[in-house]
Symmetry: C2
Subunit: 320 residues, 2 copies
Amino acid sequence: MPSFPTLDEIQEAAKRIRPHIHRTAVLTCTAINKMVGGEIYFKCENFQKAGAFKIRGATNAVFSLSENKVARGVATHSSGNHAAALALAAKSHGVKAYVVMPENAPQVKKDAVAGYGAEIFFCTPTLRAREETLAKVVDETGAAAIHPYNDFLIIAGQATAALELLEDISDLDIIMTPIGGGGLTSGTALSVRFISPRTKVIAAEPQGADDAYRSFRSGRLIPSENPRTIADGLLTSLGDKTFPIVKNFVDDIVTVSEEGIIKAMRCIWERMKIVIEPSAAVPLGALLTNRLDISGKHVGIILSGGNVDLDRLPWLTEKA
Amino acid sequence: MPSFPTLDEIQEAAKRIRPHIHRTAVLTCTAINKMVGGEIYFKCENFQKAGAFKIRGATNAVFSLSENKVARGVATHSSGNHAAALALAAKSHGVKAYVVMPENAPQVKKDAVAGYGAEIFFCTPTLRAREETLAKVVDETGAAAIHPYNDFLIIAGQATAALELLEDISDLDIIMTPIGGGGLTSGTALSVRFISPRTKVIAAEPQGADDAYRSFRSGRLIPSENPRTIADGLLTSLGDKTFPIVKNFVDDIVTVSEEGIIKAMRCIWERMKIVIEPSAAVPLGALLTNRLDISGKHVGIILSGGNVDLDRLPWLTEKA
């Protein structure tokens, strides 16, 4: 059996982060239910602080560190939601955040991270440059590095979204998440196993970044090479802490075309009148493109985030 | 004193339409509150059935008609939210709807009206052609014509949005609405006078379609000539039933530039992660462009609707 956070640790995380996060709404949509023939309960983490579920894990990690370890701040490298979440979590805790970002990151993301008071270090846009720059920042500042997903405190934090969803809706046949690095998916799988073992956990992944699908099928960790998808939150590969949890506790992983992701994203904007980012649309994309049949079933879907560049909407810029 | 619906009639309307509409959420946003220095409570009629508050008035009108009058259906001319609302209200009541639409109406609006089962009659896009075609349709079918706003049953229906808002948030200093034909504004003003007389009612109008502003200031009804604004729900002019109510019970009307409307619309999408149409953004536009100071105040804003063409977002197509 793999190592993983216990139910106690997840419930501790929920208690720890409660004052610092939103308990997000669960929404339904009759028109979408008709399209898929089942009943979907959308857990709206797009309404979460800093616009994504990432604040759950980041807050749990920052507030779990000993005073000694956290005193000199926290650090990470990220161009996405984890960077903003860590910056906000550090601000809530009154410590400094150092964020390494690729110099070509979108201005809106640089602004968000800076807006929460983090200090930004720019580097060339390669994984190696990001890791080297982070190592240097940690060395110089004494900050504690916090990984975006391959970390049990992060996983326990992300697990609290499913905990809330199961408290609100108790009779779910399936819970679906998008999958990238596996933090949200492994946390969700743990909460479901502990609280509602009959509920199946199914992750949905872009075809163009299908390392989790291939790793799950083959039973060994196969990182992505040159992943390409508009779901910019799902470009990362599973880690050595998330993969074993996914392998043991997730029931299935399905893949979704770019066209399916765009169709689902637009469907949620038009029918539900809410803004979600492409990554959040992947599970519904699996349903709308018939990768999974949920006829007659009750299905929870975690809408992972709502941070999207309104100047570059995929149905206007991408060939679907 | 003008004629207007009584509190009893508004409460009757609320009871009558309750099974057929959503009680919409009231949302707040810390980031926007910081920008304006007050506390805003957004009544989310963008989440309403058929995507706008219009279903309230249309349902009240259709369900108030005698069996004899409604038996041969209902009819209107509209290219917008009232057309879809009337089509859905007729469907809920099990009667036919006939909708006269200009032939150049956007496909998405034709689809919505047809999707609710209404029969569509196309005409050339002039007010005269629309009125003549409607008269002919009414003559041939025996359907009851239902005006989009200049009708006491419609006004009483639209008044129920403010009724719900005041039930949820009792200590509002101001309630703001966008103003076009005046159905929502006059209904809101009546509910506020009856339920919370100390609350001020302030309407916000696009500068490019400012007939209500000019009528309010001059004390006489001055219809718009060639109104131009991206707030496509607010191109209509006040009517002889809405104007007297607005004149007597609204505290002020402020006007907003196109730039201010676009800025507010984008702000709500980005910060609140919800989809609203340009018309719904006009009140916040007044605050963001300093047409009204709400420092330290509690302000309700009715977000009137969320029906927007996702292929033509104003910050991508208009020069702001």
